[in-house]
Every structure is written in C-alpha cells, then in structure tokens.
C-alpha cells in the first residue's frame, strides 16, 4: 500500500540528483528492491509510471532488480538465501543465523540521454 509513497520518494530523489539536467532526458532508472522490503515491485512500477510524467520525466522507464534475502550462519559462516519457510542454515542446519541483506530500496543508476547542454560532470561508465 505504501508503494505510492516510495514512488514519490524515488522521483524526488532522482530530481535532486539531476540538479540542472532536464528530467525529460532521463531514459531509464535502475532500482534495486530487496525481497524483504515491504514493496510489491509491480505496484511500485505502476505508481512510478503514473507520477514520473507529472514530474517532467516523460521518457523514463524503470528497471527494477530484485535483491535476494541473505542470511549468514553464525556457526559455519555459510551465506544462504532462505527458502520460504526454513530460515535455518541449509549446510549445517543451525538456526543461529543473522539477517544480512534484503531490505534494499535503492536507486542504482540514472541513464540520461546525451544532449549538447548535458552536464559534463556526470561520471561515464565503461
């Protein structure tokens, strides 16, 4: 239900990063959403596509990558992705485990169309 709010935060954060860059030049935005966040990716994507044009991002698509839920076993140090019902270590069966990651709500990258007035300071990836 809070996907609408997370979408608004996403657009706000993107525009803050863009600074002087025209939001219409944004072609795609990469998002990383942890499977343990409370977010339903389809719902987030729907709201992003509703809000983005209103905020001037008329050409943007959103690429959502789902980040796995990872636990580490405190006994054998094995890092594992728990199955739906079993959160204990598949290697040594220990239930002494620590949550490592899976709560991510991140903007990974913003792809901006090159134009003459494009900001030269943005870093170029290889």
């Amino acid at each position: 239900m809070h996907e609408y709010y997370v979408a608004k935060h996403t657009i706000y954060q993107i525009k803050k990063e863009l600074g002087e860059i025209d939001p219409n030049l944004v072609k795609s935005v990469g998002l990383k959403i942890g499977k343990m966040s409370g977010i339903i990716p389809d719902a987030l994507n729907m709201y992003l596509n509703l809000i983005a044009p209103e905020e001037g991002l008329t050409n943007a698509t959103f690429d959502i990558v789902l980040a796995p839920v990872l636990f580490q076993c405190n006994d054998c140090k094995n890092v594992f992705e728990p199955s739906r019902e079993l959160f204990w270590c598949p290697k040594c069966k220990s239930s002494n485990v620590t949550f490592i990651s899976g709560n991510e709500l991140e903007i990974q990258y913003i792809d901006v169309e090159n134009s003459t007035n494009n900001n030269k300071e943005v870093e170029r990836t290889t």
């Binding site: 239900m1 809070h2 609408y4 709010y5 997370v6 935060h9 996403t10 706000y12 954060q13 990063e17 072609k27 795609s28 990469g30 998002l31 343990m36 966040s37 409370g38 977010i39 990716p41 389809d42 994507n45 596509n49 698509t61 959103f62 690429d63 959502i64 990558v65 789902l66 728990p82 739906r84 019902e85 079993l86 959160f87 204990w88 239930s95 002494n96 485990v97 620590t98 949550f99 709560n103 709500l105 991140e106 903007i107 990974q108 990258y109 913003i110 792809d111 901006v112 169309e113 090159n114 494009n118 943005v122 870093e123 170029r124 990836t125």
Partner: protein, 240 residues
C-alpha cells in the same frame, strides 16, 4: 508506451552509446532517513528512549501503551489516518500526547519521519523518559520507514493467528521486540504460544518476544523491566 523490465541481473544490459549513466547506489528514502537520524540523535542525547509501536489495526497497541503509562514516565505520539480517539485516551490519564493524522498525507498507511519530527521535538520538552509512537495500524507499510527509534516494537495479538510471521516477514524481521498480546484468548483460539514464538524466531532469531494480557495486570511487569533495561543501557552508553 512504458515497458516494465525485470532483470534478475544486469550483465549484458549496460547503457547504450547515446546515454550517460549516473551511478548512484543511493537509498530511495534518504530524505526520510536524514530526518530520522536527526531525531535519533536528539532523543539519544536527551536520554529519552524512543519506541516505534507497530501492528495491525486493533492488535492492542493503545491498550499496551496505556498499561505501560502506569509504570513509566512516558509521552505519546499517536498516528492514525483520521480522528483523535486514541490520543483522547492518553489525555484523559494525564499523558502528554500529540496526534498526527495521515489524511492530510493522502491517508497514508504509515508514518514518515518528516511528518512527525516537529511533534517529536515538542514531546521531548515534557521531559519524559520514554516516548512511544503509535504507528498507523498496518502489518506491512510502516516497516520500511525509519522514524529515528531505538526500538521497533511489534504488537501482535493472538486472534491474528499462527501463520503471519511467514506471510508478513518484512515486519517480523525488522521488529526488535514482539509483544504477543491478548494471551488470555489463547485457549479460545487454540493457539500454542510456544509454537508461535518458534515461528517468529525462525525468521528473526534475535528478536525479543514478550507476552501481555490486558486481563492480567501483572503481565505488564516483564515488559516494563525490559524497557527500563533498554533505556538504562542507552544512558550507560552516553556516560561512557
């Protein structure tokens, strides 16, 4: 036409020639978390222990906080979509309380730090030892928003059933404490409390699990002792 793209991983999907990629790796909720961070420091410096109380509608959040108010020096921030029903309860028993209604924020199902920061700053001036935020009743949405709390306390009631820890893992993994309430109803619901605790520990091995019943006045004592211990640890960390 907008397309929806889900990549399991990004290899081979780098940016094309005519675009410039701005690499970020930034938290979407940064604006929320910056304010939450500021609140966390304000409360920590003042030695006020801040608890974010979350749980389904009707799980017993208000009842639990009212029971704690008899033993602890508290103030309360009430978050509801609409109305002041719960905050009136606290005002009646002389507990400093402020109400935040999310209907002005599109009837949000959760609280965000910037919406409540001013009110949390105000509550500190009443010199409480504990401040409780009663979040909007919801078992999913509040879990993603940090409010600057020291403790994330999930109120979960017996009638909600057995299977929720696995059905709603985000809330159960993010909680630092689960208070299982309405345990007086366990016989009626035929719910085995030990089994329930196990199913919570399965997905959150480090969580503290306590039980409470409004029908048993003494059942609040272990929760009072636990929270006093947590605040004392906070005070000790300040003086060291």
């Amino acid at each position: 036409m907008k397309r929806m793209l889900f990549f399991e991983h990004l290899e081979g999907h780098g940016p094309s020639e005519d675009v410039t990629r701005i690499n970020l790796g930034k938290n979407i909720l940064q604006a929320n978390d910056e304010v939450a961070h500021e609140i966390f420091h304000l409360y920590t410096d003042r030695g006020v222990f801040l608890t974010n109380v979350m749980g389904s509608p009707g799980s017993g959040k208000t009842t639990l906080i009212k029971a704690l108010a008899k033993h602890l020096k508290i103030a309360v921030l009430e978050g509801d979509i609409a109305s002041s029903v719960d905050s009136i309860e606290f005002a009646k028993i002389g507990v400093p309380v402020v109400q935040v209604n999310t209907d002005v924020y599109g009837s949000a199902c959760h609280l965000e730090a910037p919406w409540i920061a001013d009110k949390l700053r105000l509550l500190v001036e009443y010199k409480p030892e504990f401040v409780f935020i009663e979040n909007v009743g919801n078992l999913v949405c509040p879990s993603d928003f940090n409010l600057g709390e020291h403790e994330r306390l999930l109120v979960y009631s017996i009638p909600e059933g057995f299977d929720k820890p696995i059905k709603y893992p985000p809330m159960f993994t993010k909680a630092t404490t689960v208070v299982l309430t309405k345990v007086d109803l366990a016989p009626v619901m035929e719910l085995d409390i030990e089994k329930f605790k196990q199913s919570v520990r399965q997905i959150n091995p480090n969580v503290q699990i306590l039980t409470f019943s409004a029908k048993d006045e003494d059942s609040i004592s272990p929760i009072v002792t636990y929270l006093e211990g947590k605040r004392q640890a906070l005070l000790n960390s300040l003086s060291s």
